[in-house]
C-alpha cells in the first residue's frame, strides 16, 4: 500500500487531496493507496473573504465551510496538527501523540501574518488577515470620523493584490459614507512602484492619482510609534497617521520553523518539481514554499493540480509526468464594483486590462464558486 500524507487543510492541501482521490479511485477502493489529511482545524476558511469582512460586506460565518464536507469519500481526515516532522523516518508525530508514516508527503501548511516583527505594529495598526483582526478593523472604520488613513505594506505577504484592493475599497467605503472629503488615504509600498507587478503598478498609480490617494514607494516599515501615531521607514522617512492599516510581513507556520524545515517558515522547494530540496518523497505546496512566486491561493491551486497529477502517476507508473510552470491568476478588486485580473507564469508576464464591472461580478461569482474549486472540480 502506498501512503500519501497531506499536512494542511487549506487551498493547496484540499485541492491536492481531492485531485488524488479522483485520480486514484480504484487504488483507494482496493486498498493499494491510502490518502490521509492532517489539519489544525475542522473548518476551511475562504481567506480572500477577509477583505470583504474588513469593510463590512460579509459576516464572519460566510468565510467558512466544514473541512470534511469538502473532501472526497475515501480521504481520511484528522483534526490533529503535526508537531514533529521526522523526515528521515518518513514519519510525522501529531499533537495527540499519534505517529503517521508515509511514502509521499505534501506539506501545505500555509503562512501567517507576523505583525509582532515590527516594534509598535500590534498596538498601532489594524489589519485584516484573520477573522478577529478583520472584524476589529471594520468596527474601527465604522467609528472613524475623519483624518489620514495610511495603508502600509510589509514583505513578504500573502495575497499580493490585497494592498491595492483594500486601498481602493477603502476609497469607496468612505465615499459611500459621505466622508470622502474628510479622509486622506496614503499608501506605502516597499519597492520603487506601487505594486510588484510592473503592469499592475502602471495601471494603479494613475488610478490613485485620479482618486486623490497619495503614495510613497521605497518604504520598508521599520517601526510604529503607536502613542504619537507615527510610522517610520528603514529608508529614514516618517508618516503621521490617524488610522494605520497594515498588510504585515508574514512567516510560515511555527511548526515549520520549530522543526528546522525552513528559515522563517519558508521551505526550500524545487520551483518546477515542487519537491523539498534534498527530499524525493516530500513535496511542498502554496505559501510555505520558498519559491520566488506570489503567495496566493491560485498558486497553491495550480501547484496542487500539477502535484496531484504527478503523485497519481508516481503511484501508477512510478514517475512524475509534468512540471509546474509557475502559473498564477489573481483578481484585482479596484473598488466596490470593478475589477481586473493578472495571469502569468514563469515565462509570461501579466498584462492586466482596465477594471470592469464584468470582472468584478466574475470575482463575486468566484467567491461562491471557490467551494467547488476546493473540491477539485473547478
Amino acid at each position: 500500500m502506498k501512503k500519501i500524507l497531506i499536512v494542511g487543510g487549506g487551498m493547496g492541501g484540499t485541492i491536492l487531496a481531492n485531485n488524488l482521490a479522483r485520480r486514484l479511485t480504484n487504488e483507494l477502493k482496493t486498498g493499494k493507496v491510502r490518502i490521509t489529511m492532517l489539519s489544525a482545524s475542522e473548518k476551511h476558511m475562504y481567506q480572500p473573504g477577509l477583505l470583504y469582512l474588513a469593510v463590512g460586506k460579509i459576516t464572519p460565518d460566510e468565510l467558512y465551510r466544514d473541512q470534511a464536507s469538502l473532501l472526497e469519500p475515501g480521504i481520511e481526515f484528522h483534526v490533529d496538527p503535526v508537531e514533529e516532522f521526522k523526515l528521515d523516518n518518513n514519519q510525522v508525530k501529531t499533537k495527540s501523540g499519534k505517529t503517521f508514516d508515509y511514502d509521499y508527503m505534501a506539506i501545505a501548511t500555509g503562512s501567517r501574518m507576523f505583525p509582532e516583527g515590527v516594534p509598535g505594529m500590534v498596538e498601532g495598526a489594524e489589519t485584516f488577515y484573520t477573522e478577529d483582526t478583520a472584524l476589529k478593523m471594520f468596527k474601527r472604520l465604522q467609528s472613524f470620523e475623519g483624518g489620514k488613513v495610511v495603508i502600509t505594506v510589509g514583505v513578504p505577504h500573502k495575497c499580493p493584490m490585497a494592498p491595492l484592493e483594500i486601498t481602493f475599497m477603502l476609497h469607496d467605503y468612505f465615499k459611500d459614507r459621505g466622508m470622502a472629503d474628510k479622509v486622506q488615504l496614503q499608501y506605502t509600498y516597499p519597492i520603487g512602484r506601487v505594486h510588484s507587478l510592473e503592469n499592475v503598478a502602471k495601471w494603479a498609480a494613475p488610478e490613485m492619482d485620479k482618486l486623490g490617494i497619495k503614495y510613497e514607494t521605497f518604504f520598508n516599515i521599520k517601526e510604529v510609534d503607536a502613542k504619537n501615531k507615527v510610522l517610520r521607514s528603514e529608508e529614514g522617512t516618517e508618516i503621521k497617521y490617524d488610522l494605520l492599516i497594515t498588510i504585515p510581513a508574514h512567516k510560515g507556520m511555527e511548526v515549520v520553523e520549530k522543526n528546522g524545515l525552513g528559515q522563517n517558515g519558508w521551505i526550500p522547494t524545487n520551483k518546477t518539481k515542487l519537491n523539498m530540496e534534498g527530499r524525493d518523497n516530500v513535496f511542498i505546496l502554496g505559501d510555505t514554499t520558498n519559491i520566488p512566486i506570489s503567495k496566493a491561493g491560485s498558486t497553491a491551486h495550480f501547484e496542487a493540480d500539477t502535484l496531484g497529477e504527478n503523485l497519481a502517476a508516481m503511484v501508477k507508473i512510478g514517475m512524475p509526468v509534468k512540471e509546474y510552470d509557475g502559473k498564477v491568476f489573481c483578481f484585482i478588486e479596484a473598488g466596490k464594483d470593478r475589477a481586473s485580473y493578472a495571469m502569468f507564469d514563469y515565462k509570461n508576464p501579466p498584462d492586466p486590462k482596465a477594471p470592469t464591472k464584468a470582472v468584478h461580478w466574475f470575482k463575486m461569482a468566484y467567491n461562491k464558486l471557490y467551494w467547488i474549486s476546493a473540491r477539485g472540480l473547478l
Binding site: V155, P156, P160, P190, I191, G192, S196, L197, E198, F218, N220, E234, E235, G236, A249, Q263, N264, K271, P292, I293, S294, G326, V328, A342, F344, Y346, K347, P349, P350
Partner: protein
C-alpha cells in the same frame, strides 16, 4: 568568511527580485554578501537605487546571457 547568499529571482514577476532580496536580507547577518539573480532588466536599476536609499552596500552588477547578477553587502 561566510558563503555568498544567492537570491534567485529569475523568472519572478511577483513578488519580483527586489522584494525577494528584501526578504532575504531579513534572515541575513550584517556583513553577509548576497547576489541577486534576475531576468528582469528593471531590477538592475531598482536594486542599486534601493540599496543606496536604505544604506546597504552595493558592490556590482554584471549581465550574462540575459541574467543580471547584482551583488551587495548587508550593512545594517
Amino acid at each position: 568568511m561566510t558563503e555568498k547568499k544567492i537570491v534567485d529571482g529569475r523568472g519572478s514577476f511577483c513578488p519580483g527580485p527586489l522584494m525577494e532580496l528584501i526578504v532575504a536580507l531579513k534572515s541575513s547577518q550584517v556583513g553577509d554578501e548576497l547576489e541577486v539573480l534576475s531576468t528582469d532588466k528593471g531590477s538592475a536599476n531598482d536594486i542599486p537605487e534601493w540599496l543606496n536609499k536604505v544604506g546597504h552596500e552595493y558592490i556590482s552588477t554584471t549581465e550574462a546571457e540575459g541574467v543580471w547578477h547584482i551583488t551587495l553587502r548587508k550593512s545594517k
